[in-house]
Amino acid sequence: MGNLSVRNLEAWYGAQKALFGITAEIPEKQITAIIGPSGCGKSTFIRCLNRMHDTLPGAKVSGDILLDGKSIYDQHPVYLRKTVGMVFQKPNPFPSMSIYENVVAGLRLNGERHKEKLRAAAEKSLRMAALWDEVHDRLNYSGVSLSGGQQQRLCIARALAVEPSVLLMDEPASALDPIATQRIEELVSALKKDYTIVIVTHNMQQAARIADLTAFFLNGELVELGPTSEIFTKPKDKRTEDYITGRFG
């Protein structure tokens, strides 16, 4: 579960075209990193995968994305987003909710009211997000009382609680310090046995460290997608080579 197949995807912001004919296979239970310079369309790309891009006024998409063989455009985005979770660049817990309420927010939206089930799901998600040991004795504290790195892991737990099959991460560590970043990276590596992970990063070393596959985007085009080791050691495209050797970007 969690195979993504992108077919000739194009995306616009109003009249401005941001993605050009993207075709890509994102295999299940692997980490696919999206790299590229600022403005290359990498965020736009993953925001298409859960149809978050569609929510912007004037945004437009063409082409198709298949999730396990079925077009994501055939179902309502509200249901799609329960299968395709997302973690954002800046930690964004709901400030009016406690740690516990943050984690179960998605389940409550799904109509789950059973106290025991919510408790159990919260613990499971917090454990998966490697946050349980730090917060289990203060679950009723505000989500924003945590440090930045903890908040981001809380947001990961919140996304996991809905039990998606795909987890999209839009530069999840870019607002964090090196130690918190390392924890997030360990977490992401541990999560891939259960989830398909697509992670945008502006940090090439991060992609090299954690990703099975790496996709290089430039000016809204997918230049190259392949096993991370190949992309970083023997890229097929000259532009990829220039980018990873630091000649631009």
């Binding site: 859960n50 978050m52 929510t55 006024p57 509200v78 249901y79 987003r81 329960k82 979770g85 997302m86 954002f88 800046k90 964004n92 817990p93 709901f94 400030p95 009016s96 909710m97 406690s98 740690i99 309420e101 927010a105 998605g106 939206l109 799904n110 203060r138 009723n140 504290y141 505000s142 989500g143 924003v144 009382s145 947001c155 919140r158 996304a159 809905v162």
Partner: protein, 313 residues
């Protein structure tokens, strides 16, 4: 080498004293006014004591004064205004900040704020000549026929009554509630909305957990500001409330408000005790407004602080 004092420190010092002075001035004026009202109402305070608050009779001819009908009129009209303008104002704010396309947003937003620019005396005129006949001939008979078993809607429909006063106040405080709520909702970071959407929230669920809960202290604040305006509003209410010191459970009854009685009667207050009683009404209005604001502030604190370790947003 002789050390020269940096020139900037003078500027800072002047700024500090000047801004400090303005702050002291505001507080000072408030205390002074309270004190003056207290002094002027001493005669009435002495004569009636606490019974003034519970007194139902207002009879200048026999020198008997009680404030209860006015307190009642003020509170009921303000409450009616809040009950009507609160949900509508919030609805307008949600529509403008979350639903409306940009062009509609600016046009409607402007019109809502324009509503606040209508002078209260004009609203009062409208209340007398348009709203009162409409209420008296259409709305109140209809309500009385269907809901007349509730004391609230019992009695002869006149149109010049508590309901009219409440409605006029609702119109007056609607722009306050709508535009401030819209401001605080627009200020909610987009990542909050996206956090909700990414969990599979529908539009309404997104507004509820991503926007309203984030903005709730500001929304409560807007309602409190509206309430403050409703409590003190004089002209429009005086014109439509009937100006009779009644206490009736029915919204179809004529009534009187604190601000209205002061405005209407201070020129006729021919003897000391009369004037003193009016001053005491002013003092009570002042106290009620103050208490409500303190209560509201406490409410905002307790609601907005949310779970432990959180912060005001």
């Amino acid at each position: 080498m002789k050390k020269k004092k940096p020139r900037a420190s003078w500027g800072d010092r002047i700024l500090r004293s000047a801004s400090g002075l303005t702050a002291v001035l505001v507080v000072g004026i408030m205390i002074w006014m309270g004190w003056e009202m207290f002094i002027s109402s001493r005669q009435s305070l002495h004569q009636f004591g606490w019974a003034f608050l519970g007194g139902r009779v207002w009879d200048p001819v026999h020198r008997i004064f009680g404030a209860l009908p006015f307190i009642y009129g003020t509170l009921v009209t303000s409450l009616v205004a809040l009950v009507i303008a609160g949900p509508i104002g919030l609805g307008v704010a949600i529509f403008l900040s979350e639903m409306a396309p940009a062009t509609v947003r600016s046009v409607v937003g402007f019109l809502v704020e324009l509503l606040a620019a209508i002078p209260s005396v004009v609203l009062g005129l409208w209340g007398i000549f348009v709203l009162a006949p409409f209420l008296g001939k259409v709305v109140e008979p209809w309500l009385g026929k269907r809901l007349g078993f509730i004391p609230l809607f019992h009695g002869a429909p006149v149109g010049v009554d508590l309901l009219n006063g409440g409605l006029i106040l609702a119109i007056m405080i609607l722009p306050t509630i709508a535009s401030i709520s819209r401001e605080v909702m627009t200020a909610v970071p987009t990542v909050q909305r996206e956090a909700a959407l990414a969990l599979g929230a529908t539009k309404w669920e997104m507004i509820r957990i991503g926007v309203l809960s984030y903005a709730k202290s500001g929304i409560i604040g807007s309602v409190i500001l509206g309430l403050g305006r409703a409590l003190g509003e004089t002209m429009a209410v005086t014109m439509v409330i009937g100006n009779m010191p009644n206490i009736s459970p029915s919204l179809f009854s004529t009534a009187y408000s604190m601000a209205a009685v002061i405005a209407n009667e201070f020129t006729e207050a021919t003897y000391g005790l009369y004037l003193s009683a009016l001053m005491e009404i002013g003092l009570i209005l002042f106290a009620i407004t103050l208490l409500l604001n303190i209560f509201a502030r406490l409410l905002v604190w307790s609601v907005a602080r949310g779970p432990k370790g959180g912060h005001l947003v």
